[in-house]
């Protein structure tokens, strides 16, 4: 029982870091440029397809991942230069409409290029099975996700909080005119941030591809989760996104693992069987509503 609990806790951590990979790019673009990007999920989908295609062509998952992420970054650059640059200054409603339009275009374009059926993206052979850690078996590939999640969190922290570029970016976000007056090209800086965000999206798509279906519409299913995470954590805060991911990951995992058993102990079997799964499905939304009720700006509000 303890061992199962430990394994579930590790699962929670793992799912949390998975969510962090999804949310990191979103919170950057959202927090720094104040731009609601519904097409975040589409970049994730396109990233996964590009990685799958590159992995298939090169025969190696890792080469595929690198090429796919590079290609997605390039796509991000094109999008920023042609469209997003104009959206930063617009209100949230215009951003929602424009990026909703991008979702429609991306889904249809992917369907036209790769077909309506899901495509294959498998982990490298060496990581496809489980490994033994501390008395139980755990999928090796999920450990890779954990490692990447931690690495991305560390890298982001260093970049945003410790580096000079990060300082400029934060300055540009809080007062664009003043920063420009100091001789910093904020426009170019924002382009860099957006491209970096797109690359993170594609990285998430490529890394999660071996665990999840790579298909049209996969972006929308993660989009909501990513938003929930950054809202709970507080928009624009990398620390918030990390904490939010871990909370959501743990609550969701433990909810699914424990709720049915718990309810069976206190309710008649029939009622428990109906209530348990329903409650587990809405748990993270309850959590978000609850957190926002007490902390209307999320746990770590980035701006006052």
């Amino acid at each position: 029982m303890t061992q199962l609990f430990l394994e579930q806790a590790l699962n929670g951590l793992q799912f949390g870091l998975m969510l962090f990979l999804l949310a990191a790019g979103l919170t950057l673009v959202f927090g720094i440029m104040d731009c609601i990007n519904l097409a975040h999920g589409s970049l994730y989908m396109v990233g996964a397809y590009l990685v799958a295609a590159a992995a298939q062509a090169s025969g190696s998952f890792w080469i595929g991942l690198a090429l796919g992420v590079g290609a997605a970054a390039l796509l991000g650059l094109v999008l920023e230069l042609t469209l997003f640059r104009q959206l930063y200054k617009r209100d949230h409603l215009s951003q929602v409409l424009a990026t909703f339009a991008l979702i429609l275009i991306a889904n249809e374009a992917v369907r036209m290029i790769w077909g309506a059926q899901p495509v294959m993206l498998n982990p490298p052979e060496a990581l496809s099975g489980p490994v033994e850690i501390g008395g139980f078996f755990y999928p090796a590939y999920r450990l890779v996700i954990i490692a990447f999640g931690i690495a991305v969190a560390g890298l982001l922290y260093l970049l945003v909080a410790k580096s000079r570029v990060g300082m400029w970016v934060r300055a540009g976000a809080s007062n664009r005119e003043m920063t420009e007056a100091l001789g910093i090209n904020v426009q170019a800086l924002f382009t860099v941030v957006f491209v970096f965000g797109a690359a993170l999206c594609a990285l998430a798509g490529g890394l999660l591809g071996p665990l999840l279906a790579v298909q049209v519409g996969m972006g929308e299913s993660v989009l909501i989760l990513a938003f929930v995470v950054i809202i709970i954590g507080g928009i624009g805060s990398i620390r918030g996104a990390l904490v939010g991911s871990l909370i959501v990951g743990t609550v969701d995992t433990l909810g699914r693992a424990l709720l049915p058993t718990l309810l069976r102990a206190i309710l008649p079997a029939d009622a428990a069987a109906n209530l348990g799964p329903a409650l587990a499905s809405i748990l993270i939304y309850l959590l978000m509503a609850g957190i926002l009720f007490f902390k209307p700006q999320g746990l770590f509000p980035a701006r006052a």
């Binding site: 409409l97 275009i105 978000m288």
Partner: protein, 315 residues
């Protein structure tokens, strides 16, 4: 933005259009195109739903992404009434509005503590909760939805013919728009628009800001419930699909296309979007690309929406 004011030429245009709508079924029947009566009815119902969101979003300044929850709730109320043998519209429609309104009261009371993007997401969270609850509610058909056997009656009059139901939907929409127009010009409408513009100032002037916003949110929810009940009667089904966040998104897109904060914004947006769908889908199965490009064009070149051409806003 500033207070909503109708353009001087608006009234005659609307009256003329309404008259045209009254004769539309006869016209369509004369040309053997009865099918379009159902299609237009659907447009009218979505116009009502989008208008209800426009009250919340455009006039109240509350960016809700959970509006479909109220829309769907109305649909389920209608279906549940029908399955328990209650079919009089004079009872069903007010009940649908009341239940949807009460649900909005609960959601609003909690959500309105937050602002901006946080408000978007908390309304989305409630929408998702409602969606998952209806999906797993076996008694109401879960994912299959709850079918309606037949349509409502109106004080003993059957609405089962498409033409009769068209008039019922048209009446609901016209009355709602009339109500919204009066509301926008009345004290209540002025206050909520002023709150949208400058909340702190209104607070300082002693207006109970929270209560005004909540009332506006509840009214919007109730009207969405009305639209949902009508849609369930049109299609003969209340399904969880109506509560999905994509449905909220679609309503939102309608309002933005039409024109946020314009009385006819919701109506125009719903008509434009549904017509685009109908026309584009006829050309190609890849019509989503065309629709996406058009929406991008609207954002970039007509940022105030289509209805901005009809209604002026000036301070």
């Amino acid at each position: 933005m500033a207070f909503y004011r109708p353009a001087p030429y608006q009234k005659p245009v609307v009256v003329a259009l309404l008259l045209a709508m009254v004769f539309l079924p006869n016209l369509l029947t004369a040309f053997g195109q009865e099918f379009y009566i159902g299609l237009v009815t659907r447009m009218l119902i979505f116009a009502l739903a989008a208008s209800s969101l426009n009250l919340v979003l455009g006039f109240g300044g509350m960016f809700s992404l959970g509006h479909a929850a109220f829309f769907g709730t109305g649909a389920y109320v209608a279906a549940i009434c029908m399955s328990s043998g209650i079919s009089d519209a004079l009872f069903v429609l007010p009940l649908a509005m009341t239940v949807a309104g009460l649900f909005a009261l609960l959601v609003g009371a909690i959500s309105l503590r937050t602002r901006g993007v946080y408000f978007i997401m908390i309304t989305l969270a409630f929408g998702q909760m409602a969606y998952y609850l209806f999906v797993s509610a076996r008694a109401w058909g879960g994912d299959d939805g709850l079918p309606l056997v037949g349509r409502m009656t109106f004080g003993g009059m059957s609405l089962s013919s498409d033409t009769a139901f068209f008039y019922a939907a048209l009446a609901c929409l016209a009355l709602s728009i009339l109500f919204l127009g009066r509301l926008a010009g009345a004290r209540f409408g002025r206050v909520i628009q002023a709150i949208r513009e400058n909340e702190t100032r209104m607070e300082a002037l002693g207006y109970p800001v929270f209560r005004y916003r909540l009332s506006c949110f509840v009214l919007g929810g109730a009207l969405a419930g009305l639209a949902g009940a009508l849609l369930a009667n049109l299609t003969g089904l209340a399904s969880p699909h109506l509560l999905q966040w994509t449905q909220s998104g679609t309503l939102l897109v309608m309002v933005i296309i039409g024109g946020v904060g314009y009385l006819y914004g919701g109506l125009v947006g719903a008509l434009v979007l549904l017509m685009l769908e109908e026309v584009l889908a006829g050309f190609t199965l890849h019509w989503h690309i065309g629709l996406g490009l058009l929406l991008l064009g609207i954002v970039l070149f007509a940022p105030k929406g289509v209805a901005a051409l009809f209604g002026k806003q000036h301070g």
